[in-house]
């Protein structure tokens, strides 16, 4: 179990992680979801003892990462596939890691086999494609046969074949009963891999729930309404529905009332409508909606 309690990390005036508390349950795949710059990587670096939190605490089964005696046997991580010396062979790279945690060197060939790099084991890692580097990184994470695995955006930049491979691999790890904590900025990706979700934006927790729950909440039908008497209409609708405002064009977004009913209410109150359009939210849309206020960089 990974537990973060009121975790904070400030870089100067940037609050990369801000009062973040969550629990990653054992034996499940937990997605760590957030838009770019939300603080996912920073959180993962703090879990792994690379960055020191400004405040709060994060532990793995009650221990700080730095207190683990042979950490690779407890938790395997792939934060960045490029953390390899380009002139070192894949095998040498894994060998020093194995030796450092007293893992039998024979395990190196085992993990190379698992990720399908046996043939290039003695080739320099600098010549590897992104997909191969990613596999080498995963081999490193699996080296100590750890019960907990941490992956930071493992499908980033991969081609569809590579993405499929990683996705199947996650499932396999979960089926083996391991705890998998994997980050992504794509909800659609997470929907296919994760059972639980921890959603963050601007360093703060937005939601921690099961993926199923999150999706059903997030993709609720809603109706877009535009009217020159928006203020009055909003007041009336608010009595029987949840009304928010689209941040982009100011249209009313109504949850909980079907479009015909909204039209009738408008007619009863003699309110002119310029738009009345039922919407079926897509997953990505819903996610964007949820994290809109907390997106670091808007594309203008």
């Amino acid at each position: 179990m990974i537990q973060a309690v009121r975790l904070r990390k400030h870089y100067g005036r940037t609050k990369a992680v801000d009062d973040l508390s969550f629990i990653v349950k054992p034996g499940r795949v937990t997605g760590f979801l957030g838009p770019n710059g939300a603080g996912k990587s920073t959180t993962m670096r703090m879990i792994l003892g690379l960055d020191t939190p400004t405040g709060g605490d994060v532990t793995i089964d009650g221990k700080h990462y730095t207190e683990l005696k042979q950490p690779l046997r407890k938790i395997g991580a792939l934060l960045d596939a490029k953390w390899v010396h380009p002139n070192r062979s894949a095998r040498s790279h894994l060998k020093w890691m194995a030796v450092s945690n007293k893992i039998p060197v024979s395990r190196v060939d085992e993990v190379l086999e698992i990720v399908g790099l046996t043939e290039v084991a003695n080739k320099r890692a600098g010549g590897f494609s992104l997909g191969m580097s990613q596999r080498l990184g995963i081999a490193g994470a699996l080296l100590g046969d750890p019960e907990v695995l941490l992956f930071d955006e493992p499908v980033n930049g991969l081609d569809p074949e590579g993405i499929l491979w990683i996705r199947q691999f996650m499932h396999r790890l979960a089926d083996e009963g391991r705890t998998v904590f994997v980050s992504s900025h794509l909800l659609s990706e997470m929907a296919q891999t994760a059972q639980d979700l921890i959603v963050i934006g601007k360093g703060r927790l937005i939601a921690q729930t099961t993926t199923e729950q999150f999706i059903s909440d997030a993709t609720q039908d809603h109706v877009r309404v535009r009217s020159p008497h928006a203020v009055k209409l909003r007041e009336i609708l608010a009595a029987s529905a949840t009304v928010t405002e689209d941040a982009v064009d100011g249209a009313l977004v109504v949850h909980g009332l079907p479009a015909p009913r909204i039209g009738e209410i408008a007619a009863e109150n003699q309110i002119v409508l310029h738009e009345l359009s039922p919407q079926r939210g897509s997953l990505e849309e819903a996610f964007m909606q949820l994290t809109k206020e907390s997106v670091e960089y808007h594309a203008h």
């Binding site: 670096r45 792994l48 003892g49 934060l79 490029k82 002139n87 450092s100 490193g140």
Partner: protein, 250 residues
């Protein structure tokens, strides 16, 4: 022991240590060959002239051993595998210093041997304590130099910066200090690489002799004292670097 093995694997599974080793030895031996072939009078001390250049190469080797880890972020992979940063970095320092020491001995005795081959009749017997120190002591100065270079590497993290600092300091800055009127030479007596050179010198002029020849550095320490001083500075810098590395985000 485990950590030493780890650092040994890391060091020898990349190319730059091999290049640096070859270059350091080739430079000192080559220089010794040139001097022996062209000088009228060859002594044990003269055969070691090229090792001063080789020391600079070893400084680069030491700095690279850390800065490449920062450059390729393998330092993070290292700290993931070994969260005790101090022990990981001390192990690296130990391995690199040992390798540097071996390079120093090979360079020193290699230089001496080539001079002996080229000038078989010259008096190149190593028979005084000073002569032994001048040859066998080279490895010690290389090992200490490597510790210093690693400390600078940890502090600076960038290859270009660390190498520039080490080269300018060891080859240029310490000599230029001597140009400062009056106090220059007094400061030089306390500069680390000056003391390393003092340790290796076969003939150390007394204060009176320095006066007579029109100035120069008068060391306040004995030759072994100079070595201890050089080592002290290297270790102190390493301690600072270790503290910084422990506190800094990796």
């Amino acid at each position: 022991m485990t950590l030493l093995a780890v650092e040994r694997i890391k060091l020898f599974s990349t190319r730059s240590p091999y290049w640096c080793t070859a270059l350091a030895i080739a430079m000192s031996v080559g220089f010794a060959a040139l001097l022996a072939a062209n000088a009228d009078q060859v002594g044990v001390g003269l055969t070691q002239a090229g090792t001063r250049l080789a020391l600079v190469v070893v400084l680069v080797l030491g700095a690279l051993a850390v800065t490449t880890e920062y450059r390729f972020s393998t330092i993070r992979a290292t700290f993931l595998a070994v969260p005790g940063r101090t022990s990981a970095l001390v192990a690296k320092t130990a391995v690199v210093a040992l390798v540097a020491g071996v390079i120093g001995e090979v360079a020193a005795f290699g230089s001496w041997a080539i001079a002996k081959v080229i000038k078989p009749n010259a008096d190149l017997a190593i028979n005084t304590g000073a002569e032994w120190r001048a040859v066998a002591g080279v490895g010690l100065t290389f090992a200490i130099g490597a510790i210093l270079a690693i400390a600078v590497g940890i502090l600076v993290r960038q290859t270009a910066g660390a190498v520039a600092i080490l080269l300018v300091w060891s080859m240029l800055a310490e000599n230029l200090v001597g140009l400062i009127p009056k106090v220059g030479v007094k400061i030089q007596a306390w500069l680390p690489f000056m003391n390393a050179d003092n340790f290796l010198a076969v003939n150390t002029p007394s204060a009176g002799e320095v006066e007579a020849t029109g100035g120069g550095v008068v060391f306040k320490l004995s030759q072994w004292g100079s070595l201890a001083y050089f080592a002290g500075i290297a270790v102190a810098l390493l301690v600072v670097a270790l503290v910084v590395a422990k506190r800094r985000d990796a």
